[in-house]
Amino acid sequence: KAETMKLAVTTSFHNSGLSDILLPVIKEDTGLDVQLLVVGTGQALRLGEAGDVDAILVHSRGAEETFVEAGFGTHRREIMYNDFVLIGPKSNPAGLAAPDGIVAALAQISQSKATFVSRDDESGTHKREMSLWRRAGLNPENFGPWYNAVGAGMGAALNTASGLSGHILSDRASWLNFGNKADLAILFEGDPLLFNQYAYIPINPKKHPHVKQDPAAQLENWLVGDRAKGLINAYTINGEVLFTFNAHP
């Protein structure tokens, strides 16, 4: 009987559809039955702290480092990255222009008070958005009603943005896989500040002796291996590459 292990991942990773490609191959190569728990970043970290999963795969560097430092994870292993994109109405009401950089683009949105939807759930995406506002010298607490802090996962927030015809910061994978685009489109992309690193953290067996250490290590080995590299780099939606493998073997 195949060995199972539980892996908590963020919504963005799962929504990208990549997991559907990887899991069957993982099963084939290692015999591992990886059960995905698709949750918010914060919840994923909590599941790890409680020892309810064997490893986590998230994208929020600061929180990850604290997690490992506190001894909940053995180490942090970078696997791949994708990037965030700024979504907004096709008509581009705030008049965003590509060369200005993401910080300038956000500043312009705030200036024209164009509708903006923020996830507001302390996810990796939300934390990145906040740091970008900070860089623009702005504090969302002072924003007016054009700024909608919706407190929801990526998909729900995208639905809201689509319903409001608003701007939103999303990871590329979620966006490409999103089916309710309405009149939204990518308005801005490609700034290095939008770089989004995913990392794998096995749960520390010293804290939770029952965690499945070996399968977790096996999975890590697979994820940083050539087979994973090939699959991740080759995964595209509508011809667009979603993830870039950058693990150090």
Binding site: G40, G42, R46, D120, E122, N148, V150, G151, A182
Partner: protein
């Protein structure tokens, strides 16, 4: 266990400090849910009574459908309301999406079958008792329905309270149509879902306990006003 304890502490802390945000979302929860319960009761009680007094060919089927509608998945209701109210939907011009009104609409759809079904059940018993009398007095359907609702009001309170319970704790639908927008459509349940997603379980539980406390309050108030437990056998 510690988390649950932290949750209780969080609830007490939120309550004694009269947290402004908490007040706001609590009041919004109440407002949305009470509106939904009022509207639903207005529709569902007479409908339940009507179903109890009418004999028609598809009656059994109608009752089975009504009972089945109690199982309408909130997420699906949310989706459908979202599609109807969205800009590109047929009622887009009303601009109701992501407003408390949209949340009320979704909740009304969810709890109306529940209230109607329980009301039907309660009124059926009373109708069995009153049947001969009301037929004999040559009452109109409207008079019958009004009489049954009035004389059965105690049992109907349970129906309305069941609807209240379902609505106040509901999150799937109002998350979609309300959007959980801070200071606009955030209510207790969506806030709880948010804190859960953030992994702040203590705060989530704290909000949950506030919600339960609110439920208790509404129920005790209803019982006190309705004097539901007095009378013949009590």
């Amino acid at each position: 266990m510690d988390n649950i304890w932290d949750g209780i502490k969080a609830a007490v802390y939120l309550l004694v400090t009269f947290d402004r945000d908490l007040m706001e979302i609590t009041l919004r929860s109440l407002q949305v849910t009470l509106s939904a319960v009022a509207i639903s009761s207005f529709v569902a009680l007479p409908f339940g009574a009507w179903l109890a007094i009418r004999r028609f060919r598809l009656r059994r089927a109608a009752i089975a459908v009504l009972n089945a509608l109690m199982g309408l998945p909130p997420v699906v209701v949310g989706l459908v309301v979202y599609l109807l109210l969205s800009r590109s939907g047929p009622f887009g011009v009303l601009d109701l999406l992501f407003t408390p009104a949209a949340m009320i609409i979704a909740q009304v759809i969810i709890i109306t079958p529940l209230i109607a079904s329980i009301a039907h059940q309660a009124i059926r018993e009373l109708w069995a008792e009153y049947h001969d009398l009301l037929i004999s007095m040559n009452t109109t359907s409207g008079q019958r329905i009004r009489t049954l609702i009035w004389d059965g009001r105690r049992a109907l309170i349970t129906a309305a309270l069941a609807g209240f319970g379902r609505a106040i704790g509901e999150v799937g639908a109002i998350m979609i149509v309300g959007g959980n927008i801070d200071h606009a459509t955030r209510v207790l349940t969506t806030a709880i879902a948010l804190e859960t997603g953030k992994g702040d379980f203590a705060l989530a539980l704290g909000l949950g306990f506030v919600l339960i406390f609110l439920s208790l309050l509404v129920n005790f108030a209803t019982h006190a006003l309705g004097r539901t437990e007095r009378g013949k056998f009590w």
